[in-house]
Symmetry: C2
Subunit: 189 residues, 2 copies
Amino acid sequence: MMNYPNKKSTYNKKPIDYGNRGMTLEEDINISNRYYLENDIAIIYKKPTPIKVVNVEYNKRVNTKIKEAYYEIPSTTDYNGIYKGKYIDFDAKETKSKTSFSLNNIHKHQLEHLIRVKNHGGISFLIIRFSTINETYLLTTNDIEYFINNNDRKSIPIDYIRKYGYIINSNYYPRLEYIKIIDMIINEY
Amino acid sequence: MMNYPNKKSTYNKKPIDYGNRGMTLEEDINISNRYYLENDIAIIYKKPTPIKVVNVEYNKRVNTKIKEAYYEIPSTTDYNGIYKGKYIDFDAKETKSKTSFSLNNIHKHQLEHLIRVKNHGGISFLIIRFSTINETYLLTTNDIEYFINNNDRKSIPIDYIRKYGYIINSNYYPRLEYIKIIDMIINEY
């Protein structure tokens, strides 16, 4: 016998929460970037993960097989591209904390890279998701720098991020409308 | 007995040819990019090669070892970054031909990407090296598009590249002064 859905079971189902269907922040950003690309809005890609290849096996019949390799620490951020003629550069970070974002999540050279890009006229930032409470923010490099230069704390309290960051809404498509925030940032400058 | 250099042997040595010491175009560009970065001129990186990881071995004592992986075709170009606030995007291609650059060297999606970037206000181009005759050119996406739209040929003759492209000089440091060419392109727009 087939199980057809009936009104009762549908009624009892929780409404679909588009904001949190178990997708990682990275998946959400990749889906959004594909949307922006297909609609000719922005050209933003995730860089491949750097991998150090140690040993390969050549085989005429199939593709070269990598037999030994190791993940490397990226020297820059994960995402970059162009929007409205501007250079965009950012990284995405997820934390389970409900209260703060630990600066240990950013590599020193990643922060240096974000600051360098900002100084060269690019738009650089972090997208930070507090996954437990499902809140996602865009925090500009300026505001990260300001916090670091004026605090001894090794983590940014969520109140600071709520005050100075921009909340990013989760939609069905694009998943994370972070380009809208970039529009606001461009208009502020 | 040690062999000390003497005047005669030094005299007989060929002068150092900075333009061609067996380095690949990729090595030359990477060295130039490091120079531009260290001197705070431009922030341009080569993207990591995309690799599809199939099988890994976790080990608490050492780094995760990738046991099976394969090279993937990149969806964009190899290099991007920012210079004078502008988004820069390009690929580097070497050919042994002395007479032409085959368009088979560019993947269709790479060309589409270069055109898309140009249309969004970025500066996109190819760096093409004729390694046999050691001539390196910057050819803008505009000039590549123009050739493709007005020719049925599947390779761009070197005369076209000499006429419309910009020759890039090889120096000691930076190896390839392609940023100077970008300055010229910016001033032309």
